[in-house]
């Protein structure tokens, strides 16, 4: 039951739970991105307020602080900052790559699909009429097709991360306080970044930074400072009660008859649950999930080193590549459902196949990395880019 692959990473003191949950989050994001996928009913967004995005952003903040924080202490602000910016550039390139795939998909639909029932839906092709404007807006991260909002958020978060990380190292409470203040001001004054052709960013970076910075803060000693609260049964009870409340509310979205039993004052106060600005209910739901997880999944849980935990962990350790692959696979899966069959067996097959491909590619990436470090083609001085991949 001992996986040598995992052993190499435990020596760095890395918390494997982070990789595990980020890997699972990547799978869930893939499943949620396949439209009409009944398998996606098994994902957490249907059972509460928050979804896999929260896990992903938090864990990414945590790992980015873990990896680059160490580097900043050892090698200084400039070197660590430069590495963070290089990572942001890699994510930008990945985003442009995904945009190219999106263009291919939508262009194909434009020429192959002429159902008169959907004349109105064909307005989505409007943007192809002005490729000069659209493509430039996409490169400026202002035009973001559906399901392609997460990477631009990461790019912004990483671009601003070096000074935040610096502050977190020396005045961690002040840094977290500034993050909370920015979040509150964003809600107060409706700050956001503009999008093309209209509207604003779907993941408002001014609001979502809170989760990223909170993750980073936890990585740099915050988690220890919270341990008293985290280990209290009262906290656990509150967290479980809140998760149950969110579960009951989420049931009313899918079983409309239940809606009438929800008191009006609750409806008036909780809706709309704003994903764009990371609604405080969503944030609280994530915190509750985290409290319950930390309570029941200890850091030295033997399962983390078993073969069963290894597939999601290896995916979580290559998050940028696997995220992009997941977006691509969800396009491909949708294509297969449209062209071959949308039946449940097909959805199940595609979902399982997609996850297997994600695992296989993650294994391949691990192999590449090991081969490279053995041949010595890459000097070992830089922080492990794939662990930092976390950062994505």
């Amino acid at each position: 039951m001992h996986a040598p692959v995992v052993a190499t990473t435990t020596t760095t003191g890395r918390d494997l739970r982070l990789d595990l949950f980020r890997g699972i989050a990547l799978w869930l994001i893939f499943l949620d991105h396949i439209p009409s996928n009944l398998v996606a009913w098994a994902t957490i967004r249907n059972y509460g307020f928050s979804d896999a995005t929260e896990i992903f952003v938090f864990v990414s903040g945590y790992t980015a602080a873990f990896v680059y924080g160490k580097e900043m202490r050892e090698r200084g602000f400039i070197i660590a900052g430069a590495h963070i910016l290089r990572r942001a550039w890699q994510i930008y390139v990945a985003h442009v790559f995904l945009f190219a795939i999106y263009l291919a998909e939508i262009s194909y639909v434009a020429t192959s699909f002429e159902n008169p029932l959907y004349a109105e839906e064909m307005n989505i092709l409007d943007f192809l009429k002005q490729p000069d404007v659209t493509i430039i807006q996409a490169l400026l991260l202002k035009f973001k097709p559906a399901n392609m909002d997460v990477l631009p958020l990461y790019i912004i978060l990483l671009l601003l991360f070096p000074p935040i990380l610096w502050l977190l190292q020396f005045r961690s409470t002040l840094a977290l306080g500034a993050s909370v203040l920015l979040y509150v001001l964003t809600w107060e004054f409706n700050w956001n970044m503009p999008s093309y052709p209209s509207g604003h960013w779907y993941f408002n970076p001014f609001a979502w930074q809170l989760l990223f910075v909170f993750g980073a803060w936890c990585a740099l000693g915050g988690a220890q400072r919270l341990s008293g609260i985290l280990q209290s049964p009262v906290t656990l009870a509150i967290a479980i009660a809140y998760l149950l409340f969110a579960f009951v509310i989420s049931l009313t979205w899918y079983v409309p008859g239940l809606g009438q039993y929800v008191p009006h004052w609750i409806e008036e106060n909780i809706y709309p649950i704003d994903k764009v600005n990371l609604d405080v209910l969503r944030f609280a739901h994530f915190l509750a999930l985290a409290v319950v997880t930390v309570w029941f999944v200890p850091r030295d849980w033997p399962f983390l080193k078993s073969w069963w935990a290894w597939p999601p962990i290896v995916c979580g350790q290559h998050s940028l590549e696997i995220f992009c692959l997941g977006v691509f696979l969800s396009f491909a899966a949708h294509f297969a459902m449209v062209e071959i069959s949308g039946a449940f067996w097909m959805q199940s097959l595609i979902s399982v196949l997609g996850i297997l491909i994600m695992i296989a590619v993650a294994v391949l990436l691990t192999w590449y990395k090991r081969a490279e470090s053995r041949s010595g083609s890459r000097p070992k001085k830089t922080p492990d880019a794939d662990l930092a991949g976390g950062e994505a």
Partner: protein, 256 residues
């Protein structure tokens, strides 16, 4: 290498076993709509009054491209005309009139601005407001979309008309390309807030697709599918109106 893959497979199979299977499609009526998608607790009081007292019912359909069908046989086949035919059959002693105010490429905000004029011109008892598609395609700010819906619904309520909100079509081929979710959510919230019925066209068409009633993946210029779907939508709205206004069709009383 083999064991983790087998583990992944086993995990996948477990997930599959835990999920409910899909119901067989064969024995279902074409375009049957389950009650939970159609009937709620929100009432249409003006419609009830107009039908009971005046024996007249004027319905206005306000919407965009998905409320019409192209071609010479388009208008009589689109759902507003099918709704009128279905209601006339269900309510033979009520003079039912359905007028349409459909303009393509309009956002909810554009449509909301025309509501006051519509009230003055047509004096409808009920307005069916189909919207959301273009707002989602253009990625209008959901807050602005919500404000436009609220403005429109308030204008209509002040003018003494009931409202049914109708959301987007289920379009499996373009699903990855337009994020309908936030806009559908806003429409659900606004419907709850004003206690008006929401005709969940998206869920209903999705249901037809899942049960095999219609192949909504089909490509090509053929009009047959569009006509059938619109006929079913028209009949489903008629059923919703009859239920929400507590109108008892006389033929059912006599027949049972």
């Amino acid at each position: 290498m083999r064991r983790p893959i087998a583990a992944g497979l086993a995990a996948g199979l477990l997930v599959l076993l835990a999920l409910p299977g899909t119901a067989p499609a064969e024995e279902r009526q074409p375009c049957e709509v389950p009650g939970y998608l159609l009937f709620g607790s929100n009432e249409l009081k003006h419609v009830a009054e107009a039908a009971a007292k005046n024996r007249r019912l004027t319905i206005a359909v306000v919407g965009t491209g998905s409320s019409i069908l192209a071609g010479p046989d388009g208008p009589p086949s689109a759902y507003p005309a099918r709704l009128e035919a279905s209601l006339k059959k269900r309510l033979p002693d009520v003079a039912v009139k359905v007028v349409t105010l459909v303009r393509t490429r309009m956002t909810a905000e554009d449509l909301a601005q025309g509501m006051a004029k519509l009230l003055a011109d047509e004096k409808p008892d009920l307005v069916i407001w189909q919207t959301g598609t273009l707002d989602a395609i253009r990625r209008i700010e959901p807050d602005n979309f919500r404000a436009a819906l609220e403005e429109g619904v308030e204008t209509l309520h002040k003018g003494g008309a009931d409202v049914i909100l109708m959301n987007m079509q289920y379009s499996p081929r373009t699903e990855t390309m337009v994020a309908l979710g936030p806009y559908a959510d806003v429409m659900r919230v606004v419907a709850q807030q004003y206690e008006i019925p929401l005709f969940d066209r998206h869920a209903i068409m999705r249901h037809w697709s899942d049960t095999g009633a219609f192949d909504l993946y089909a490509a090509g210029k053929d009009n047959v599918l569009a006509h059938l779907v619109h006929d079913c939508i028209g009949r489903a709205i008629a059923a919703m109106i009859v239920d929400a206004a507590h109108l008892r069709p006389p033929e059912i009383k006599a027949g049972q």
